[in-house]
Amino acid sequence: MGLYDKDAIDRVRKQQEEWEKNELNGALEVGPERQDHYQTVSGTTIERLYTPEHVKDLDYQQDLGMPGTYPFTRGVYPTMYRGRLWTRRQIAGFGTAKSTNQRYKFLLAHGQTGISTDFDHPTLTGYDSYDPLSEGEVGRLGVAIDTLPDMADLFDDIPLDKVSISLTINHPAIVLLSMLLAHAEDVGVPWAALRGTVQNDSLKEFHGQKTFALKPRGAYRLTMDVVEFCTEHVPGWNTISISGYHTREAGSSAAQELAFTIAQAMAYVDGGLQRGMTIDDFGPRLAFFFGCHMDFFEEVSKLRAARRMWARITKERYGATNPKAMLMRFHTQTLGSTLIREGALNNIIRGTSQAIAAVLGGTQSLHVSGYDEAYDIPSEDAMRMSLNTQRIVGAETGITNTIDPLAGSFFVEHMTNQLEEQANVYLKTIEDMGNGNMQDGMFAAIDSGYIEREISQAAYEYQLRLENDEYMVLGLNDRVEGEIGPGELYEHDPEEETRQLDRVASVVKARNTAEAEQRLQELRAAAQGTDNLVSYVLAAVKAHATEGEIMGAFREIFGEYKDPGVL
C-alpha cells in the first residue's frame, strides 16, 4: 500500500503539467538554467523537481518503519540522537606507540569519546619495522606496532574497560587483536569488558584499501577465525567493520560503495553459516563503515538505503530472527579525498557538510577528516577543529532534535530507492559469478578484477567530469582568490623510525628465542589444518613473536598476494 492514493498522484501530475506549461516555460524563456544537465557526484541524473509521484509506491511499513524497527531505514535505535549522540571517534596514529599514546590522551581530553588506531604501512601489510620494504614508512602515516610491548605502550594508562577501541587493521587483524587481548589480560581487564572494533575486512583490501598481505582465501579464513573466536570469547567486540570507505576513496560511486560493502558482508555471513554459527549469534557484532562525500542528499540517501538493504538481506535471505542481527550499525568518516590543498581552511566547510550528512544519515560514530590532510596526517589543531565540528553539529544545529528528519522528502526517498536498486544490480552480478553463493561470487569478482575495473572506471569518469568543469570544486577547477593556508602542519620526526627499530631490537633480544620459535612452529602447523588460529596467534604474541614473523608464517602457508595491476 502506497502512502498516496491514485487520485492524489493524478492531481499532482496534472498540476505539474500545468506548471511546466505555464510558470516553468515562462521562466525558462526569460533565462535558461545554469546547466543543461544536473547530476550527483556519482553521476546519477537529478531531475528538476521531485513530487509524490516519484515515491508513489512507497510503503511506510515495508520501506521505512519506525526507528529501531525493521527495516531500520529511519535509524537503528528508537530514540536515536535524542537518547545519545554519536561517538566522536577520530582516528589517530603516527610514529612510535609512545607518541600515539600521547595523541590519544590529547584527543580524550578534547572531547573524543572513543579511540581509533591508524597503523603505519608496514604494520598494515604485515611487515616488521626492520624489513627492507618498510624503509621510510615506519611510523610515517600511522603508528608502528611490531610486538606486544608496543601494544602495551599504545594503550598505556587508557582504561580499556571504559574507552572503546577501534583497530583499523585487516589482513593482520588476528595479530593486532591478539596483542590487544594479551595486553588486556596483563592489565587485568577481562575480555568480556572490552568494547570496540577490529576492522578485519579482508576482502575489501583487494579493491579498496590495498594494504593486503595474503591471497584472498587465506585472508578470509583469518577474518572468519576472528569472528568465530570473538563471538564466543569477546562478546562486546565488533568482529568486522565491513568497509565501504576505502572503496569510495578508491574512486567508486555511491552505489558501488553500497553494493561492494554489502557483498563483502554477505560473503562473511556465508562463512559464518558454514562454520555452524547462526546469523542471530554473530550478526549482531558485525559493524559497518562508510565514507561521506560532498553530495549531501546522495550521501544521506546512501546511508538510509544501506540500513534497509542489510535488514532485508539478513531477514529474507539469511533468515535472521534476532533484530540485532538485522540492524546495520555504522561508523562514518568524511572522505579524505575530498580535501583540497589550495585554500586548506575551506576543508573545514567540507568536513562540516559531510558530517551533517552523516548525522542525517543516522551514523553511530563519526570521524571528520582534518582540514590539513591534503598535506600530511592531521595536526593537533586540525583534529581539535574536527572534534569541535562534531560538537557544534551535535549541540547547535538542531538536526539531532528529531529522528531522521529527511524522511518523507520526495527527493531523498526517491534517491534512497534508486541507490538500493543500483546497488542490487551489482549484487546480482556478483551473486551470479558465484552461482548463487556470495562467498564464491566475491572470490570470483576479486580474482577476475571485476570490482577493481568497475571502481577505476567510476574514478576516471568522475575525474573527467572535473576536468570538463561539469563538477566544480573550489581550489581544484574553480580558482581560489587569496588562498587561506593550513596553519601549522604535522611535523614528521624521522628519528621515530630509529626509535622503533631500537625498540623491536631490544624486545627481540630479551625474549626467549626458543619459545618464540616454538610458538611460530605450532602456528604454521595449525595454519595447515582447520583449527581456529586465534589461540595460536595469542600464544605467539605472548612469546613476543613479531607481527612480521607471524604474518610471514601466514604468507608461507596461505601465499602472498601480488597486485595484479588491473586498470
Partner: protein, 137 residues
C-alpha cells in the same frame, strides 16, 4: 600524431608499501585515451624492478605514483637504478602524488623530470609528456 608514428610507451607503477592507487589508474586511462601505450605494473614494486621493466620494454616514460610520504628515498633509488642502466635522460621519469611544493626543486635536481602534485589535471600530465618527448626527438 601521424598514423605511422610509434605510440609513446609509458610504464606506470607504485613503489614501496603505499596502497593508494586511484590516481595512477585514472592517469593510466587518460594516457591510453590520449593514444599512448600504457602498462601498469601494479604496486609494491622496488625501484630496481621498475627500472628493469623500463629497460626491457624500452619505455619512453616511467610514471611513479606515491602518496605515502616516502617519495624522496624511493625516487632517489629509482633515479640511480635508471642511471645504472644508462637510461637517465633517455627515459623520462615522472612522479605524481602527495609531494610538497617545496620538494619539487629537490626532486628535479635528483633527476626526476616532471612532478605532478595531487590536484594536477590529466591534461597537464598528457601535455607535458607529449611536449617534452617532442622536444627531445
Amino acid at each position: 600524431m601521424t598514423t605511422n608514428a610509434k605510440p609513446i610507451k609509458i610504464l606506470l607503477a607504485k613503489l614501496g608499501l603505499d596502497g593508494h592507487d586511484r590516481g595512477v589508474k585514472v592517469v593510466a586511462k587518460a594516457l591510453q585515451d590520449a593514444g599512448m601505450e600504457v602498462e601498469y605494473l601494479g604496486m609494491r614494486l622496488t625501484p630496481e624492478e621498475v627500472a628493469e621493466a623500463a629497460e626491457r620494454e624500452s619505455a619512453d616514460v616511467i610514471g611513479i605514483s606515491l602518496l605515502s610520504g616516502a617519495h624522496k628515498p624511493l625516487m632517489d633509488k629509482l633515479v640511480k637504478a635508471v642511471r645504472n642502466r644508462e637510461m637517465l635522460g633517455e627515459t623520462l621519469i615522472l612522479l605524481g602524488g602527495t609531494v610538497g611544493d617545496d620538494e619539487v626543486t629537490e626532486l628535479q635536481e635528483m633527476g626526476v623530470d616532471g612532478v605532478f602534485p595531487v590536484g594536477s589535471s590529466l591534461k597537464s600530465i598528457t601535455k607535458y609528456i607529449e611536449e617534452t618527448l617532442r622536444q627531445k626527438a
